[in-house]
């Protein structure tokens, strides 16, 4: 790690002010579980690290503090009862040690595990050092995206993001130019031509809390993932799904996939197919993967994703 000054913020507002306008020279730290690995490999060499972990937890009613740890979310009775996908996603993440330190905000903002992103000697669209190294011939892309963007084929690593999108969560953000509340899904909007940064957050903008509103859709939600190794491993693919059934007819549904695209991937075609009809799990599983364009080394992820959609919906329909 390069030497840095360490700033402890009392609240998100102070932290956001300290970060804004400094670009890569200042970074925010919550649990630190992703940040420290990036600092150690010198992918980030900031002059200042702004520590959020002691900031006042600004969570009100119906809110999940951005500083809540994954372990806290996994164990929270209200979350388990009303947003089962979120609790399950938190529980499946990483390891007990990481879940005790890693936070909701950090999980949403973590960087991809793409090994080319994480090695400064390769060019990388996301790092702004050139073209994607994972797409061309000869690249090792077995764990990468099956819904790649033409400029980046990384896989989104977050467990929580698909789950939060599936239950219709919003994120409350703090910035000196004005606070705002965004749909969790908008956070990852790639726009028409792809985006280098992991989220649409402005420089210095921080997620203060996640807003959760109980609904029939959120209550009937789940999260499933598939790992190559059962012990600590990032999922080959994950699916968070939420289903509102009315007498066997799908009133509303959300199917959000992790680990298959540079951002959480909403299986819109499958959702549209289901809405207003009798639940057809097989058709949904087929539709979810219909548009997949796998890379040279990851075609196997397509049937896996289909199977995960099948499992998630089957679980919710029973």
């Amino acid at each position: 790690m390069k030497a840095f000054a360490y700033l402890t913020a009392d609240d998100f507002e102070a932290a956001s002010k300290a970060l804004a306008g400094k670009g890569p020279r200042a970074v925010a730290k919550a649990g630190g579980t992703d940040l420290l690995t990036l600092l150690k490999s010198r992918l980030l060499e900031p002059d200042e690290v702004v520590n959020l972990s002691r900031a006042k937890r600004g969570a009100g009613k119906g809110e999940l503090s951005a500083l809540a740890t994954l372990a806290e979310v996994a164990a929270d009775a209200w979350v388990k009862e009303n947003f089962p996908a979120v609790a399950k996603a938190a529980l499946e993440a990483a390891t007990p040690q990481v879940r005790n330190a890693g936070t909701v905000g950090g999980n949403l903002c973590q960087h991809t595990r793409c090994w080319y992103f994480r090695d400064a000697s390769y060019t990388c669209f996301k790092r702004g050092t050139g073209d994607c190294s994972a797409a061309p011939d000869g690249a090792e892309n077995r764990y990468h995206a099956i819904f790649p963007h033409k400029r980046c084929v990384s896989a989104h690593p977050s467990n929580l993001a698909p789950a939060l999108i599936a239950v219709g969560a919003k994120v409350a953000c703090v910035h000196p130019d004005g606070d705002r509340t965004l749909d969790a899904e908008i956070l990852y909007d790639e726009g028409p031509s792809g985006r280098r940064s992991d989220t649409i957050l402005r420089e210095g903008e921080l997620i203060r809390a996640v807003l959760l509103e109980p609904s029939p859709l959120a209550k009937r939600s789940t999260y499933v993932e598939l790992r190559e190794r059962q012990s600590f491993d990032f999922a080959l693919a994950s699916v968070a799904a939420a289903l509102d059934l009315d007498g066997g007819i799908v009133k509303d549904v959300r199917i959000v996939c992790g680990g298959v695209a540079p951002v959480p991937y909403r299986a819109t075609a499958a959702e549209n197919l289901l809405r207003g009809r009798k639940l057809d799990v097989e058709a949904a599983a087929r539709a979810a993967v219909a548009g997949a364009t796998p890379l040279s080394g990851n075609g196997y992820k397509v049937p896996i994703l289909g199977e995960l959609v099948r499992r998630a919906l089957t679980e919710l329909s029973s």
Partner: protein, 734 residues
Amino acid sequence: MSELRLGFPDNERKADVEIPPGTPPPWDLSTDHKVVGREHTRLDAVAKVTGRAKYSYDIRFKDLIYAKFLRSPHAHAKVKRVDLANAKAMKGVLYTESYEGETVRYAGQHVAGVAAESEEILDDALRAIVVEYDVLPCVTTVEEASNEGAPGVIEGRGNLEAGREQGNLKRVQDAHDEADIVVDAEYRTQVQTHSCLETHGSVCRWDGGKLTVWSSTQSTFAVRDGMARTFGIPQSDVTVITEHMGGGFGSKFGPDAWDQFCARAARATQRPCRAMLDRREEHLAGNRPDSIQKCRFSVKKDGTLMGAEVRSQGTSGNATGGANVYNPGIYRFRAAYSKQDTVLTHASSGRAFRAPGHPQGVFALEGMIDELAEAIGMDPLELRRKNDPNPVRLKEYEIGAKEIGWHRRKKSGSDAGPVKRGLGMASARWGHNARPGAEVRCTIGRDGSVILANGSQDIGTGTRTVIGLVGAEELGLGLDDVEVRLGNTNDPYGHGSGGSVTTPSITPPTRAAAFEAKRELLRHVAAAVGGDPDAMDLKDGKVTGAPRELTFKQACGMLAVDQVTALGRMEQKPGGGGHLYPPFTGEVAGVQFAEVEVDTRTGVVRVVKVVAVQDCGLVIDPLTARSQIHGGVIQGISYALFEERILDRRTGDQVNADFLGYKIAGALDMPEIVSIPFSVSQGMTTTGVSSLGEPPTVPTSGAIGNAVANALGVRIRSLPITPAKVLAALGGVR
């Protein structure tokens, strides 16, 4: 003449032997052990569970400095210029080296070195070094390196190192002609890195012209000799200390470049220096070479194995040789032939890795045996029994088959699924590797204290405890009554812990030392209380055969000298050398059975149960023996399903050089494992103890591969067996 009872209760053989005077009577099936063969907790267990055990990584001095290499991101390049100016200008940078002008042959080869006051300064200094390379084209796979016009790895020689050729091809072809079925198949195995948890490295300190090295090594004496050669000083001026070490598995057999650099930095600065690799570098410090094995095997319909023909290629990186596989082997073929080539690539060198060549060879061999069984419609266990010459393994088949419930095995692919179960099996054959040359010193003090000392190391296999148990047995004491000193080259010589030689080679010298010290003690007792010392012995903490009751402590109190000391070694046959006694089989036999569950919708393989029956000669301690067998099985599972060094073909750089991308099996991946140490009176030495470290990791991947094939009805001939490969084999990937 005495009678030596060899073998095991169901299959005993007697041999008439001459016991040389001055040596302890050999242990065999008649021996009634008091300590040996029973479960004990390790002598160093408390130190390890409390964090008090000091590994080389943990050696600290107030004025300790830190050393590390800067490494090339390119696999093939000329180091044009190394600019150390910025690094040298940093406060706290104490020593540097440059390897300007050298040729880089693998990504990660060192190009500069720095030693500094702290690890933070060291990190800054390495970042500040500017290196210019002439980057050259690289080859990272056997196929690429074999292409015509491929860039050469070592100047002046081709990339193909034509290796060992064994057997008579003509006779094999005749056997094929005579056979009913001939099967051709190609098997592949991956590169596996040792992934020692304590990384390679050392702490070096000079006191005047004398060097002390705290080394994470499997061979303290090899480090001593290597360092003495490096610095042109006598061996007596080098002390190597390895009190505890965090895993080696074959990769830590001498001083490495970083150790030598560390010692140079320590000498230049006259301060103790530490150089321990980081996790990324650790993946460079040795690996199990990969393999492509083209096999043609044949069989008669009655199950007689006929011809075995293997052509294998593998890469040991930029090392010449070392990619041989153990295939064929184990079973009796009418005729066998193999040709084994090593292909040079721009990758870090292979090193010995727990049963070098065996897991990769046996994965293919055992797959082929199952394919033959399938082809003639014979039960795979039956086919093996019919063609296995080893009496120990024949018994082990029986034990293992019963434990796994082999009768439940269905026709391959017949399980309804979608999660399909399957059973598979495979075997291991290893040498009885008792090697002369090691020495143990036994000291009995007048106060009854006993010290057993040897300068070699305990790499986690329990050597310290084994020495204590054997010494205690000979002296009629308990494990707690003896102290074992290990891991300092100022004590008597011990072998490197490799080839599973340690326990078979260290137990005879331990016995000899304790026996000799005991005889000397009893002579003192006889001088004090009368009686015939040769009729006396030590048992249960007491002297037997003396004119009066004496405890061990009372006996020691009668020493006319401060202490008695004896140096024991493994006795050899007088004159011609060789082992004192005949062997039972002279080899070590093992079998494993695996049950798996394969989810045909996701391709995920879950190992449900493994049964490992493993012969290791006389079992010294069933508890630590089971640990060893468990460990071999677990590494085998990891090899079968998860581990793979992934090199980017364009750069030769390992993209998964950490513990997230390089996946070793964790707690949630564990099946039920039943490890059954199978005790055999093996003869040969005074202890009849044989090898155990390596063989239990040999059959696991083969057994799992066969179980997966049994579950699916489709065979995956490539390791690791990942969801990607399973789904591809099932035709589910477009």
